[in-house]
Amino acid sequence: MIRAFSALLARDLKLAARVGGSGALSLVFFLMIVVLVPFALGPDMNLLSRIGPAILWLSAVLATLIGLDRLFQSDEEDGSLDLMTGAAVPLELVVLAKVLASWLTTGLPLALASPLFGLLVALSPKAMGATALTLALGTPALAFIGAVGAALTATIRRGGLILAIIVLPLMVPTLIFGVSAAEAALGGTVPFTTPLTVLAALSLIAAVVGTLAAAAALRWSE
C-alpha cells in the first residue's frame, strides 16, 4: 500500500518537473499578480504594507487554480484513471497522493517564496514571517478544496472555468482566516494563535472531506 502511494507521489512530482507539467507555472503567476498590484495602486508604501498580506493571500488563492483543472483530467483522458481504479489501494489514497504532490509543487513553493514577494508590497519582516506561516498552514486547505472541484470536472472538456466557479466560494473561509491571522500578528485585539488554529483546523477538515468527496466524484463520474 505504501509502495503504491509513493509510486503515485513520485510519478506526479516527476510529471510536474517534465515538459508540459505545471510545476513552476503557478509560482510565476503568483509573482505576476503581486507585481501588478503596486502598479495599479501607486507608490503608497503605507497602503501597500497595510494590504500586503491580503494581496499575497488573494494571489495564492488565484495561483492555486492554475493547473488545477488538469489534476484529474489528464489522467482521465489518457486512461491512467482506469489504472488507478484497479490499483491495490483505495481510490481515496490515490486522491491523497495526487493532492499531496500537487501541494508540494504549488502550495509549498508559494508559501516559501512569499517572504521574497512580500518585499514588493512593502511588508515588514514580522508580517513576512506571519504571512508565510499562514500560507504554509492554509494552502493545504486550498489544495484539497480544489481537488473536489477538479474531480467533479474531470470528464468535462474545458472545465477550468466551471472549476473556478465551483471552488472559489468554498475557499472563502480559508481566505478570511488566513488574512486575519496574518494581520493579527501585526497587532490588534485578537491574539495571533486564534485565527491561526482555526486556519489549521480548516486545512485538516478539508483534507478529510476533500479526499472522500473527490474519490466519490471520481468513482461515479458517469
Binding site: 509502495r3 503504491a4 509513493s6 509510486a7 503515485l8 510519478r11 516527476k14 510529471l15 517534465r18 515538459v19 508540459g20 507539467g21 483522458e77 489518457d78 486512461g79 491512467s80 484513471l81 482506469d82 489504472l83 488507478m84 481504479t85 484497479g86 490499483a87 491495490a88 489501494v89 461515479w220 463520474s221 458517469e222
Partner: protein
C-alpha cells in the same frame, strides 16, 4: 477465478445500449466480444472494470478471496494509460508499483513485446503501434487473472499480433481469463463468442429529453 455476469444491462446518456446479457467464464477460458460499432463492447468492458455502473444485473467474481474484482484485472483499451512525458520503463515501473503483485521486470516485459530499445524513450515519441505494445507490456509486469482487452490488435503489425496471441495463449494455459472485444479471431480461435446485438432502438422521447438535460 471465475467471472459470472447475469442479466447485465447498460444505459448511457439515457439510452439503453444492451440488456439481458449473461455469461460465465472459468479458468483458462477466453471470451470474444463481437458486435457492430456502437453495440456496447467497450461499455461492457468498462462495466467489468468497475468504471461504469450497470443499469441492471450483477457482475460477480468467485475464488478471488478478499480482493474485489477491479483489483484482479488488467485493462488495455483505446486510452492506453501511458504518460507521454515519462519513458516506457518509468511508465511500466509505475504500473508495477501501483497495481502490486509484480511479475516480470519492465525491461523483460518490453523485450517480450519486442521493444527493448524504447525503454529509455519518452512514450510521447513512440508510434501508435509502439505505444500499444508498451501498454500491452503492462500485462506482463503484474500478475492478474483477468485480462480485459479492448480491440488489442488495433495499430499492431502482424508480428506483434502473433506475440499477443502467444501471450494470451500462455496466460490462459496458466489458468487466466481473457475477455477481448475484437473483430479478429487472432489467438482466441477456441474461445467462445459473445455477440452483442445492434443497439435497441428504445430511445423514448422521455429518455431523449433526459439525455438533453444532462448535456
Amino acid at each position: 477465478m471465475r467471472l459470472i455476469v447475469e442479466n447485465l444491462a447498460c444505459r448511457r446518456s439515457g439510452r439503453r445500449i444492451f440488456s439481458g446479457l449473461s455469461f460465465s467464464l472459468g479458468p483458462g477460458e477466453g471470451l470474444m466480444v463481437t458486435g457492430r460499432n456502437g453495440a456496447g463492447k467497450s461499455s461492457l468492458l468498462t462495466m467489468l472494470s468497475g468504471r461504469l455502473k450497470p443499469d441492471a444485473g450483477t457482475i460477480r467474481a468467485e475464488g478471488i478471496g478478499e480482493a474485489n474484482l477491479p483489483e484482479c484485472l488488467h485493462v488495455v483499451g483505446h486510452r492506453d494509460g501511458l504518460k507521454s512525458s515519462l519513458t516506457a520503463a518509468e511508465n511500466l515501473e509505475f504500473a508495477r508499483d501501483l497495481l502490486g503483485n509484480p511479475a516480470a521486470s519492465p525491461k523483460a516485459a518490453l523485450e517480450a513485446m519486442g521493444l527493448p530499445h524504447v525503454a529509455r524513450l519518452p512514450v510521447g515519441y513512440l508510434s501508435a503501434g509502439q505505444r500499444r505494445r508498451v501498454a500491452l507490456a503492462r500485462l506482463l509486469v503484474c500478475r492478474r487473472p483477468l485480462w480485459l482487452l479492448d480491440e488489442p490488435t488495433a495499430a499492431l503489425d502482424l508480428a506483434s499480433q502473433g506475440v499477443l496471441a502467444e501471450l494470451m495463449g500462455r496466460h490462459r494455459a496458466e489458468g487466466g481469463l481473457v475477455v477481448a472485444a475484437t473483430h479478429q479471431t487472432l489467438g482466441l480461435e477456441d474461445a467462445r463468442e459473445l455477440r452483442i446485438g445492434a443497439a435497441v432502438p428504445e430511445a423514448t422521447p422521455e429518455a431523449a429529453s433526459e439525455a438533453e438535460d444532462w448535456l
